[in-house]
Amino acid sequence: MVNFRKFIFGLLGVIFLVSITGSGAKNSIQIKGSDTMVNLGQAWAEKYMEKYPGDFIAVTGGGSGTGLSSLISASCDIAMSSRNIKDKEIGLAKKKSVNPNEIIIALDGLAVVVNPSNPVSELTLDQLAGIFTGRISNWRDVGGKDEKIVLLSREVNSGTHVYFKEHVLRKNDPNSKEEFAPGALMLSSSQAIADEVAGNSSAIGYYGMGYISAKQKPVAIAKDEKSEYVEPVIENVINNKYPISRPLFLYTNGVPQGLVKKFVDFALSKEGQDIVLATDFVPIKR
């Protein structure tokens, strides 16, 4: 009986919550999309709601594709996406008289780091792919000491893992079957990778630029042998020189208006961009 009553109360609670989130259409917006950006979106929403207590913002993940298709079907107000909208999606949107409007909101730069005692400080994308797939297994082969390379990767639940696999290992080729070497150590957080790199002279890892400290040495990356080697610093990500970086987008239906505009403006403001930095992405405005 007690359980049953609890259940009823729980149910009532859920119904109540659903009704307040659903009914307050005037001062609430739905944001949906990229899992990479969920934390960022939620951090924005939190601070925003602190600042404007009357407004309500719901942020959910599901992936960039989910976010964009929700925008097209008008079931969300803002879609977060870590990739550009496809022509096919624009076509679908036009049919439903939705007009996707792209806003670059932040940049995402991935640093490849080694121990400061490692003489290697420059790598090409090809070398990186070779190292992380296991084809290159000794530092000697890329100009370092005669030591076995210890690969550090994020777990498969990490967007960074997927991004690194798709853009570095597979070089943006959707048909590529490249995988991380099975011997790669899977660590559960960027901080764990940072710690291991700091204490291990033969380790190499990757993570968002926010985690670089004096205990790790970021490697300069070149697109190919002829290109210039670029350091992972915020300036190089902003002017698109650093090869392992991508813009992060918000998509709205038409030019933002009303509450959507208020939120986008907040995200683009100094305060919003500070949150970008705090969640380890690169702000677009300094």
Binding site: D35, E147, E155, V156, N157, L185, N200, S202
Partner: protein, 294 residues
Amino acid sequence: MWITVKDMRKFKEIIIEKLILICGIASIFFVALIFLFLLKEGLAVFNIVSPFQFLFGKSWYPISDPPQLGILPLILGSLLVTLGAAVISIPIGVGCAIYIAEVAPLKIKEILKAGIELLAAIPSVVLGFIGMVTLVPIVKNIFHLPTGLTALSGSIMLAFMAMPTIVSIAEDALYSIPKTYKEGAFALGATHWQTIWRVMLPAASSGILAAIMLGIGRVIGETMAVMMITGNAAVIPSSILAPVRTLTATIAAEMGEAVVGSEHYFALFAVGIVLFVISFIINVTADLFLHKKQ
């Protein structure tokens, strides 16, 4: 009709009896529910891969397209870490139990028992963290390894976790031997050590085996500490000095992002079934030993 005090008492008695009965049945009921749920979610993976491919496949790339769902490296990883932990914790744990039960003076006995209880109270994530910053660099330097995140580090840390279980149950087993055994051995002129080795240990053997099995059961189900210090590389380990990925760490690390209803999600539940079967076997074995004792 009159309700007498006696009736009331009887009534109360029945109510309490039923309540306790429900409590007793509840645990079995929940185990059955959990098992059914595991089966329901986990068996779906065999629509995608055959049980043979799943258990003996050598590649674990769950989010690739198509996914490769072979858990042999994970099973071997779990077994290797457990074996290592057993090798370390059994001699120390049983030795400690003998010392506490037979040799130690009362004061030291109290201190030791308190210490072991304290060891059992340390959360595994704390042990994992301590292992990560202290043990991992030591293992790396002693064996000149590329990395200290190895099965050995995991085994050592897990040995700490198995010890309290082994010590306290083995100690109970030693205590439960009738005093007459010991007195008889002494009367025949046996030394203290001879008595322990030839009389006490054989007499308590089934209890000690149960202690060991329960300790191992604890180790194989442990998640947080191994996830932090074994490196989690899904490769068939070549030695105890290689990184491994355990069944438990795989579930913990990947369940958060697995899309409900995807192959990856079902595969993780199937990993759960494998783990459940392994610990079930261990617990049943321990139970058999315990009953043999009585």
